[in-house]
Amino acid sequence: MSYDVNGTSVEHDEEGYITNLADWTEDLANVIAKAEEVDMNEEHWEVVNFLRSYYEEYQIAPAVRVLIKAVKKTMGPEKGNNKYMYELFPYGPAKQACKIAGLPKPTGCV
């Protein structure tokens, strides 16, 4: 299973998470988003970029409530809330935004 990014194939798993995190590019993110039926705009990118920098700094994808709290602090309360996040990513920021951002699949531990 793979995504096609301008003629290059990028491997992904059953659920669409990329196998090799180093394969991520912005073009790939757009391809994953299309497969997820998410129409990437500036607001989506804001969250995706936030997730990537969080992962870069801490080596984990933040839990949803942590993401929302952090977004609230840096981007304000009109964006740092559940409603806004689920409007952007209908299947949830953990699943969809992390997938588009090329982060590891949440292990679904709770």
């Binding site: 969080y54 700094e57 801490y58 080596q59 984990i60 933040p62 839990a63 409530r65 942590v66 709290k69 952090a70 602090k73 531990c109 709770v110």
Partner: protein
């Protein structure tokens, strides 16, 4: 779910990388944070090595999870007790540990240190003040 808040202590006594205990302990802490309990972490014996700064794992092909400790504040895990005697025995001082801070919501988001260096006797007091002790 049960309403009562319990005091949970995660006891870390093992060094990172040689075994998986440190990493999988951290995974429990991150998940456990969602349960709104009163959480503390204890680092003693070889566990203090987990918090040492400048860990670089490129040469062993193992994920470096030490930066994740710095995310604990976001998860409202803000009490990391580190035993002074364990540091001493290993030739370490508090300066050898990475800075781990949290932002205190009740104090205008002031940055405060999460690491609290305690004596062995104080660590024993911390341990004796818990409802649940999870060892790794």
């Amino acid at each position: 779910m049960d309403e009562k808040i319990k005091k949970f202590l995660y006891v870390n006594r093992k060094a990172p990388y040689g075994t998986i205990y440190a990493l999988e302990a951290l995974e429990v802490v991150l998940i456990g944070a969602a349960f709104d309990q009163d959480v503390s972490l204890a680092f003693l014996d070889d566990g203090v090595f987990q918090l040492v700064k400048n860990q670089k794992t490129d040469g062993i092909g193992v994920k470096n999870f030490s930066p994740t400790f710095r995310a604990l504040g976001d998860y409202d895990v803000t009490k990391l007790f580190v035993e002074q005697e364990s540091l001493d025995e290993r030739g370490l001082t508090a300066d050898d540990l990475q800075d781990i801070i949290y932002e205190d919501e009740d104090d205008d988001w002031a940055e405060k240190p999460s690491i609290r260096i305690v004596s062995r006797a104080e660590m024993a007091d911390v341990m004796a003040d818990q409802d649940v002790v999870l060892s790794f």
